[in-house]
């Protein structure tokens, strides 16, 4: 049963709204501005699901994912990214390739995310 989520995004408003929306849905939500912070938080209070952006300062999403995979193999991972389909900067297919539990392209409907979390 998923109770605790960790939202990682470099955009403060994005973190905030997601936290608000997910808390409304009954989850306990921690937020981090980058991968490093996320790891530190996870060590203090492990989350069941990591919801992370890819474009981020300090450590990009992929590095964060790698670190989580090693240290917290049980934690499920959902990737959200604003990468465009027509550009090289589309990281979602890459994320799918490395086998995360879910991918979402920004902007997404919070209900879609909630559905995804329910399935996990």
């Amino acid at each position: 049963m998923i109770k605790r989520l960790l939202v990682v995004d470099d955009d403060a408003d994005m973190r905030l709204t997601l936290k608000l929306a997910l808390e409304l849905a009954g989850y306990a939500v921690d937020v981090a501005g980058n991968g490093r912070e996320a790891l530190e938080l996870q060590r203090k209070q492990p989350a069941d699901v990591l919801i992370t952006d890819i474009f981020m300062p300090d450590a990009d999403g992929f590095e964060a994912i790698d670190a989580f995979r090693k240290e917290f193999p049980a934690t499920k991972i959902v990737v959200v990214s604003g990468g465009a389909q027509f550009s090289r900067r589309n990281y979602l297919p890459d994320a799918e390739l490395i086998g995360v539990e879910g991918t979402l392209q920004k902007p997404f409907d919070v209900d879609t995310l909630l559905g995804l979390l329910n399935r996990l």
Binding site: D10, D11, D13, M14, L16, T17, L18, L20, A21, E23, L24, I54, F55, M56, P57, D58, A59, D60, F62, V80, S81, G82, G83, A84, F86, S87, R88, R89, N90, Q105, K106, P107, F108, D109, V110, D111
Partner: protein, 831 residues
Amino acid sequence: MKLRSHLYLLVAGALAPVVFFAVASAALLVQQERRAMEREAIGRARAAMSAVDAALAGHVTTLKALAASKSLAAGDLRAFHDESQRVLATQPDWLNIGLATSARRQLLDALLPYGQPASFGGHDGSFDLALSTRQPVIGGVSVGGAIGVEVVRVLVPVVQQGEVRYVLSAPLRVDALGEVLQAQKTPRDWVIGLVDRELKIIVRIPSVAPGTPASESYRAAVTQSPEGWFRGSTLEGREIYAPYVTSPLSGWSLGIAIPVATVNQGAWRTFALTATGVALALAMALALAWFIGRRIEEPIASLAKATHAIGRGERLAVPSAAPMDEIARLAQTLQKSVDAMREREDRLRLALDAGRMGSWEWDVRTNRLAWAPELEAIHGLAPGSFQGTLEAYAERIHPDDRVYVRAAMTAADCDEQYLEYRIVRPDSATRWLESRGKLVRDPSGKPQRVVGVCMDITERKRSEEALKETSRAKDEFLAMLSHELRNPLAALSAAAHVLKLAQPNEVPAVKARAVVERQTKHMARLVGDLLDISRLAMGKVALERERFNLAEAVSNVVNVWRSSGRLERHKVSATTTPAWVDADRARIDQVLSNLLDNAVKFTPAGKRISVAVEQQDDWAVLRVSDEGEGLPPESAERMFDLFVQGERGLDRAAGGLGVGLALVKRLTEMHGGTVSASSTGRGRGATFTIRLPAVLAPAARAPQPEDGPVVPPRRVLIVEDNDDARQMLHEVLAYNGHDVREARDGASGLALAAQSTPDIALIDIGLPDIDGYEVARRLRASPGGRRMGLVAITGYGQAEDQRRAYEAGFDAHLTKPVATERLKQVMAGLQ
């Protein structure tokens, strides 16, 4: 064959018949001379013979006279003896006088006393001859008398009563005849000789013993013919020519021997003369041929030299003076061709220069490489300093491209070369070159040389690179755009979700509304930047210039940023001294905002950002310096290009579209200003400098309110079909104390205006029924409409829209989303 050889041949051809005729006539002359000489020599022999004959005839006559003496006829021998003695005494050449009977009995001897018997001596065949012919006879040479002197006898038969009774004889000393020969005065090296019937020499100069047989050749000649000319040898063995004659009187012969050398001397002289003449003629002809040849060859040689030099590319004048018209013409023609060639060459050189091209030639056999001066210039070498070897060439090539160039050059079956490679100039600048070459083969197909041109394509390469970079930047931009637009949308979407579920007055809803407000502004700025940059690119932005103090404007912007909290993470300082400009204030604010945004983005928290304004000469200078990441020097210039941002990885914190600095540049340039970026290196921060033309400060300054204009409460009418926009405007205006009415379309707007007569009407242009322009026109035409303040609100804000708005009667123009500050300014302006 050389020209001179041709001339020599001509001379030889012309002279050959002349020589032939000269030699032939010389031969003829020699022959005639020889004949004349022969005749003369024979004449001379005859004369000598005549002298001998005359001498003999004298002796015969004297003896005949004695024979006719009376005493002999009377038979008185004693008296005759006396008479003979007397005669003998008168004849010194006679040795004796003798008288013999026909029966060979000696009767008398003048040297002996009368009566003393004398001997008959020395009578050879000549005695019988005298008897038979009854004519005087001259005998051969013999040794006569007791004294042993060589003599010839003169015999005279004495005929009495029809019979020969006696023969009278006188021995004559041959010396006497020698004197006759002597008198002929023949040259010393000649021989003259008298020979008797028996071909014995009687007398000879130079002398031999009388009675010596004549030379064999002489005897042969005389036996063959009594008179003539022969070639033979003397007794001494000398080679001679000899004329000879025979006397009918004595039957003797006389010969003169002339040395062959003397005879041939004339011939030799003639031949020598002819030869000299021929040789002289030949020499003169040859000399003339040589001289003329030289006169032709020299100008030709100098023309050839000039042509050669011109071929080598030296600027030599063709020698024009020539001794021969044809050569002068040749020189003129050559000069014309050279001039034409030079013109073409100059044109080619110009073209090569213009294209930064230079020609080269590589001799495959000698491996020499010749470069035109332009090519040396392209390589950054002084003219003539290239050594012409492949090694020297390879040295100039960029180390990474050497193997490639070498391989391409030596590709065996490559008739056309095309190379693109880099070189490193002595000043260590790297340039891109393009080289095209064509292989020239000899008739047998063997490679001889490769000729080609080389061109500096650095600029092209750079623009290609820049194009690639631009294209890459565009891709980046689109990706970034997608990301930058999707991110706020994602936040908005999540906020909408929260607002849908949360109680309006609870914390989550309040927070979500704040997020909506922030993200909307953020997106509006992004879209605004994008639209601005495209409008600027199309030249559709009109500046609304006014005179203001840049220092104040900058301070205001910094204060607004400060109060909004956007500068709280950095130490920001502003140092300003007055600098007045004539500019569009809103645009200048935009410029500074973008610079500040840029500085904040790229400067780590806690570091310093400083803003400065000052006047430098004719420029108002705005500087924004930070202690951020700095710029690589090579990209300082490009920072202002569209879509370019500082280097960023996946982990970039900056965000933004990369259009901010491009906007800064275009807006500044529209104001006649310049932008520049500088950095002392990575991590050492950057300084962006804007220079705007400075203007004089106005004499009296209107007092400026501190916190923007204060607008007294007005009746305001909003005509806007978009509910959100209308409500937003309504709230802002109501908040500021205005009396606000609103309408959703043009018709109701006009009705409301007629009813409430507002002070100001804010009218959207894109209305569902009649457009905003029409609304404005009708309002202006309505009672009291003239004094009404009309403000157009459009989504475009292009220069064309502004113009149409003013034409329709609007006083001002605002673009969506309407900024509160701007709205205040506009409304203040309408007081």
